[in-house]
């Protein structure tokens, strides 16, 4: 069972250009796309990813899925896709400055590209630069450790970003995941 919460806010931008994608079947897959104004009338990256996932085979590596995704979305879209399988392994792939951090053994660390073993209770946050640049690792970790679920964790982090920026800092997008 994976608990998750999403946050999407246009900030002080005219529109919300980022995209957040979450799918629970067949494996838990989450993606955050850092959008751009010039692509507002193009095909949604989240939709493209869902189509790519539909067309993929069960044994396909995340790298293969992302290669298919890269062919269909603009080159300069930054994103992070992660997939958690039944054996609690997370496979993630990052393009650009969208970042995932994991609360692990009393520390907050950046989730590396590739496969990483998880254990029950591990918490991950994926977010765009506008979001995580207004947070510290220690703040994210403290918020994770005092939260009973992902919604609470997200609320605490949004409060931190708000204390610093009043949410006037461009599009804000994040996904919190608790394994």
């Amino acid at each position: 069972m994976i608990d998750y919460a999403c946050f999407k806010h246009k900030g002080n931008a005219e529109n919300y250009y980022d995209e957040v994608f979450v799918s629970e079947l067949p494996f838990f897959t989450a993606a955050v796309f850092c959008g751009k104004e010039e692509y507002i009338n193009t095909l949604s990256c989240a939709f493209v990813l869902s189509e790519v996932l539909k067309d993929s085979k069960e044994g396909d590596q995340l790298e293969t899925i992302c290669a298919a995704l890269d062919e269909k979305i603009p080159e300069d879209i930054e994103y992070l896709v992660l997939r958690i399988d039944d054996s609690l392994k997370v496979d993630s792939l990052r393009r650009g400055q969208v970042l995932a951090c994991i609360a692990n053994n009393g520390e907050m660390m950046t989730l590396p590209n590739g496969i990483y073993g998880l254990k029950e209770g591990d918490m991950i946050v994926c977010s765009v630069k506008n979001f995580y640049s207004n947070l510290t690792n220690e703040g994210m970790l403290a918020d994770a450790l005092i939260s009973s679920d992902c919604n609470e964790w997200m609320d605490y982090m949004v409060r931190r970003v708000s204390d610093k920026t009043e949410l006037l800092c461009g599009n804000l997008s994040a996904v919190c995941i608790k394994v």
Binding site: N105, L145, I146, R159, E166, L168
Partner: protein, 298 residues
């Protein structure tokens, strides 16, 4: 001839029931034993140091009345001699201004914390329950007519749990960056959530005059004690400052790292001097405990 078959059958039945009860009790005990071992191992993994040495706490504190008539802050530090077995508790309580008996209540809170010592490092919910009980006791006496905040940390080996009620601060300074670890339980949190979920900016949340009002504090009934469910790993040269809002009103949190060079006593001196030199007209009571994590006594 007496027919003993009934007795034999009955004995067999009781033997079966007895064995089932013993077997179930054994399995339940085994389950809890395994869960305990797993939990202790998890805690030990965080509390053990990567470099093979333990950090120690270099601590100092300071307090001042500011422009107030009374000192309504109070602090508690558990016996340092017991730190190897029970860890060390550092706590600051700040009597709520404008309400009755702030001085009495904050002192009551720290005295009750001392009475409840020692605290388990593993079972943070049990510790939160102790704090909740203290809060309920204050509620019984003052019925929301008085209260206090509480910021408390429990340092054990190279790790820390924290507990908080109200808006006092637990600041961690690491690598030149200061982070307030505990969220403030004031009305701003509610407003930020409201505006953010509506897709608006949160400027209004901060200009609202009553937004700094506390939604939870010691003295509230069945208060929600903020607590870490598992510990934060501490590093060498980390500085932890537990303080009342009189300190952060005078020294913005982002500037705190400027004063964190040297030993804990030196840091405390610098912070106190900074507050005094600010000469704020409405300086509140200020109290802080400064803890520096160090690997060597010399």
């Amino acid at each position: 001839m007496v027919d003993l078959s009934y007795l034999v059958e009955s004995a067999r039945l009781w033997f079966f029931i007895g064995m089932t009860v013993i077997g179930t009790a054994f399995l339940v005990t085994l389950y809890f034993f395994i869960m305990y071992i797993l939990k202790v191992r998890k805690i030990r993994k965080v509390t053990s140091s990567g470099g093979g040495y333990l950090l120690y706490c270099d601590a100092a504190y300071f307090k001042g009345k500011g422009k107030r008539k009374n000192q309504e802050d109070s602090l508690y530090i558990s016996p340092i001699a017991d730190s190897a077995t029970n860890g060390t508790i550092f706590a600051v309580s700040d009597g709520m201004g404008g309400l009755a008996d702030g001085q009495v209540i904050s002192r009551y809170v720290t005295e009750r914390l001392a009475e409840e010592y020692p605290y388990s490092f593993e079972d943070t919910e049990a510790n939160a329950a102790k704090i909740r009980k203290i809060s309920d006791e204050v509620y019984e006496k003052y019925r929301l007519g008085g209260g206090a905040t509480l910021a408390m940390i429990h340092v054990y080996a190279n790790a820390m749990n924290f507990y908080s009620l109200g808006d006092s601060n637990i600041i961690l300074v690491r690598k030149g960056t200061a982070t307030v670890l505990n969220p403030k339980q004031n009305y701003i949190s509610y407003l930020v959530k409201k505006y953010a979920s509506a897709g608006e900016n949160t400027h209004e949340a901060y200009i609202n005059k009553s937004s700094k009002g506390l939604m939870d504090f010691v003295g509230n009934l069945n208060s929600k004690v903020i607590r870490t469910s598992s510990p934060i790993r501490l590093m060498e040269d980390d500085v932890i400052i537990i303080c009342s809002d009189g300190v952060t009103d005078a020294i913005p949190v982002v500037t705190v790292p400027r004063y964190t060079d040297g030993a804990a006593t030196a840091i405390a001196e610098k912070l106190k001097l900074r507050i005094r030199s600010a000469k704020r007209k409405r300086q509140d009571n200020y109290t802080a405990i400064v803890i520096k994590m160090d690997s060597s006594l010399f």
